[in-house]
């Protein structure tokens, strides 16, 4: 687990740089100048934010803030989750940074991060971001779960933040990231993880012609996949949410799919 962070204890000064003596003297002299500090959401500060704030924790913070709008003390709740949740969800390495930047930079705006995310980014001060950065950065590179690694971790994090989140909501929040999340298998994963999900019956009359109709067979296969995923999601085995999502992803992508079945049935 990450070291516990409390907003009360942020920022301990030893977590940030202390300027050498000659730079301290320089800072003291210049800060006497009569000027207002830049606004938190100013363009000048945006440059510093982008040097300090790593993309992965920012993305998780944006998702968190988007889905828990009304929660009191969202930052402390987020920091508690960061410390108490599976470390794999919050951890990032340089390979993640390059992948995320590459996706974010597809839009031609000034600055790296989307404008809509800035209002959430500036909710957290520099020192707390620095602390989050230091806690979550992984060196050497972390192990991965195949090509959908980031999406699996995003789905797991989103379900921790809000169990009722659906894939299309997540897709809308993260549109600037240019990742497809409202597609198979993530639509099913978020559907069956919803607390209101009811398992559907797959019973049918094997002797009837309707049962063997291709549309019904596709539906049967789809329902069975969903039920299997739901079973994995609810299993009493000691597994983290990330592990559950990972197994659901595996079951939904490795087992015969509706499209495979359609080809065979033709």
């Amino acid at each position: 687990m990450f070291r516990k962070v409390s907003l009360v204890s942020v920022p301990p000064l030893d977590e940030v740089h202390r300027f050498p003596r000659h730079l301290v003297a320089l800072a003291a002299g210049l800060s006497r100048a009569t000027r207002a500090p830049p606004e938190r959401d100013s363009g000048a500060l945006r440059v510093l934010f982008e040097l300090i704030v790593p993309p992965w924790p920012l993305i998780l913070w944006v998702v968190f803030r988007s889905v828990v709008n009304n929660r009191i003390e969202p930052l402390q709740t987020f920091l508690d989750l960061l410390c108490d949740t599976d470390q794999d969800i919050f951890a990032w390495d340089n390979a993640d940074v390059f992948l995320l930047y590459r996706n974010l930079l597809k839009d031609g705006q000034l600055g790296i991060y989307p404008r809509d995310w800035n209002r959430y980014m500036v909710d957290i001060d520099f020192r707390t971001w620095l602390q989050i950065r230091n806690m979550t950065r992984t060196v050497p590179d972390r192990p991965r779960r195949g090509p959908d690694d980031l999406k699996i971790r995003l789905a797991a994090a989103s379900l921790i933040f809000s169990p009722e989140i659906c894939a299309s909501t997540l897709q809308n929040i993260l549109a600037p990231l240019h990742l497809s999340l409202d597609c198979h298998p993530f639509v099913t994963i978020t559907q069956v993880a919803n607390p209101n999900y009811m398992e559907q019956t797959t019973l049918g009359n094997l002797d009837s012609e309707e049962f063997w109709a291709s549309t019904n067979l596709r539906n049967q296969l789809s329902v069975r996949s969903q039920n299997l995923s739901h079973t994995l999601w609810c299993t009493p085995l000691r597994m983290s949410i990330l592990e559950r999502v990972q197994y659901m992803h595996l079951a939904l992508t490795v087992l015969p799919q509706v499209s495979t079945f359609s080809r065979v049935s033709k």
């Binding site: 210049l30 363009g43 000048a44 945006r46 440059v47 300090i52 620095l130």
Partner: protein, 188 residues
């Protein structure tokens, strides 16, 4: 305001020419008013002399002239801004021309140039690397000063960089920027 920025555009272009290969989008983003923080990129009337001295300082190795295409793009962006209803004031108007030039150089390196390096060179651009680029951009004389620190290689630039940044940022803001080299030049 518009005219001073139009006159100052070559200054922006000279600062940007080594760091931004595709400038068309940059002019639009910086000057058209599309970005709510676009006021940062505007020059003041009093900057002309300073910009001219910077451009004329051949020891910097600045080459060529601002291409006509860049002029067109810059003017088009300024026209678009004039058509818009929102007027963004320059938050850097309190700076001296010399400091404003240095700060615009920093914006180009740390914001626009950083994106280019991320996209094309897979270089995350740690602070000491950005300061090194910045030092190359704003060096005010032909005399090449060497860093006393062989690890970060920018110890000779830290005073002037800090002096410039502290005109805009608070000391505690700067202290939070990660410093990756193993040296103590920026750390405790």
């Amino acid at each position: 305001l518009i005219s001073s920025t139009e006159c100052g555009s070559p200054g922006t272009w000279y600062l940007a020419q080594f760091h931004i290969p595709e400038t068309a989008q940059f002019w639009s983003n910086a000057l058209s008013g599309a970005d709510p923080h676009g006021g940062l990129w505007f020059w003041e009337d009093e900057d002309e002399e300073c910009i001219q001295a910077f451009i004329n300082n051949r020891s910097l190795g600045l080459t060529g002239e601002m291409p006509a295409e860049d002029w067109d793009n810059a003017c088009r962006a300024l026209e678009a801004r004039q058509m818009g209803s929102q007027v963004t004031l320059n938050p850097l108007s309190h700076l001296t021309p010399q400091t404003r030039l240095r700060f615009v150089a920093w914006l180009i390196i740390a914001e626009v140039g950083q994106k280019e390096r991320l996209l094309h060179k897979r270089d995350i651009g740690s602070l000491h690397v950005l300061i090194a680029y910045w030092g190359t951009s704003i060096a005010s004389s032909g005399k090449v000063e060497n860093s006393k620190c062989t690890i970060c290689r920018v110890s000779h630039l830290l005073n002037i960089w800090m002096e410039t940044m502290l005109e805009v940022y608070l000391p505690e803001d700067l202290q939070s920027i990660p410093w990756d080299p193993g040296c103590k030049c920026f750390e405790r």
